[in-house]
Subunit: 193 residues, 2 copies
C-alpha cells in the first residue's frame, strides 16, 4: 500500500470538498480540482473512476467531519440539553455559512434536482440521518418518547436549515444569531413538557 498515494487522494478529496461547497458540485470541474491541488487531471482517474466517485468520497468526508463535531458536542457536557444547545450554536461558529449556506443543505438541494440517471438523494440522507439520529438520542435521553423524539429532531433540523438558508440569502449575521437563540429558547420550552 502506497503511503504517498493516500496523501494525494486525500488532497483531491479535500480540494473537492471545499470547491463543492464554495462553487457547487456541478459547477466544479476537474480542471478546478487540478488547479487547486496542482495534480494533473489524469491522476484523478487512478483513485476515482468517475466524478460521482469523488462526490461519494466528499460526502463520506463530510459525514466524518460532522461526526467529529457531534463528538465535540458530546464532550462539552454530559447534559443532553446542553449538548443540543451546543449543536444549535454550531452554525454560528462557521464563518462561511453566511456566504455559502449549509454544506449539507445546499448540496442536498443541488443533488435533489433531476439528474439523468443516478438518484443521488440517497447520499445526502446519510448525512442528515447522522444528525437526525444523534438529536433523537439526545431527546430520548431527556425522557422523550421515541416517536416524539424523532419529530423534535426533524423540527430542530428543519428550523436550523431554514435559518441558515435565509441568513445566507440576506447575508444577515444578526438574524442568524437571534434566530439561533430563539431555537435554543424553543428547545427549553419543549423539554419541560
Amino acid at each position: 500500500m502506497g503511503t504517498k498515494g493516500n496523501i494525494n487522494r486525500q488532497r483531491i478529496v479535500e480540494a473537492a470538498d471545499r470547491l463543492f461547497y464554495v462553487r457547487g458540485y456541478n459547477q466544479t470541474s476537474f480542471s478546478d480540482i487540478s488547479d487547486a491541488t496542482g495534480l494533473p487531471r489524469g491522476n484523478f482517474y487512478y483513485y476515482f473512476k468517475t466524478k460521482e466517485d469523488i462526490l461519494d468520497a466528499v460526502v463520506e468526508s463530510r459525514v466524518e467531519s460532522f461526526s467529529q463535531m457531534l463528538d465535540a458536542c458530546m464532550q462539552a457536557t454530559s447534559d443532553p440539553y446542553g449538548r443540543l444547545q451546543a449543536f444549535v450554536s454550531m452554525p454560528l461558529q462557521s464563518e462561511q455559512v453566511l456566504q455559502y449556506g449549509c454544506p449539507i443543505g445546499t448540496l442536498s438541494a443541488e443533488l435533489g434536482k433531476a439528474q439523468s440517471e443516478h438518484d443521488s438523494r440517497v447520499h445526502m440522507t446519510a448525512v442528515f440521518d447522522l444528525l437526525r439520529h444523534w438529536c433523537v438520542d439526545q431527546f430520548v435521553a431527556l425522557g422523550v418518547s421515541a416517536a416524539r423524539a424523532d419529530q423534535l429532531a426533524m423540527d430542530l433540523l428543519a428550523r436550523m436549515q431554514g435559518v441558515v438558508l435565509l441568513a445566507s440569502v440576506y447575508n444577515d449575521r444578526a438574524f442568524l444569531q437571534r434566530a439561533s437563540r430563539d431555537i435554543q429558547a424553543w428547545l427549553e420550552t419543549v423539554i419541560k413538557h
Copy 2:
C-alpha cells in the same frame, strides 16, 4: 412590435422556468430548452443576449407567479391571520415541492454559490423580499410593531424553507403536513401576545 415574437419569448421563459426548477439552472442547457420548446437554439439570442438574461426573465416570471399566489391569499379572507394561514398551507398544494424543493429556496442556494463574476444573489432577494414584505404587512395589520413584524416574517419564511427542504430530502409528505400545522399553531400563539 411583433405579436408572435412575444409568444415565442414567453414559451422560452416558461420552458426555462420549469427546467430551472426541475434540473437546476446550471444543469439546464440551451439544448434542453430547445428540445422543450421546439425552437432552435439560435432563436434564443434574438430575445436574450446571454443565459443570465434568461435567468433574469425566469426570476421575473417567478416574482409574478408568487405575486399572484399572494393575491389569492388576500382574496381568500380579509383576516390577516387567515391570510397567513393560507400562505403557510401553500406548499402543501404543490405536488412538486416534495420532489424538487422550493422554487425560491433551491434556486437561491444554487445562485448563492461563487460564480466567476456576477453576484446573482441580488436576483433572488427580490423574490424573498416580495414574500417578506407581504408577511410584514399581515403582521402589522394584526397590531404588531414594524420591527417585531419583520422578525416574525423572517422567522416564518425560515421555518417554511426548512420544512420544505427537509421534507424534500426525505420525500416525507407526512412531515410536510404535520410541520405546516405546527407552524400554523405557532402563528396562533404568536398573534395573541
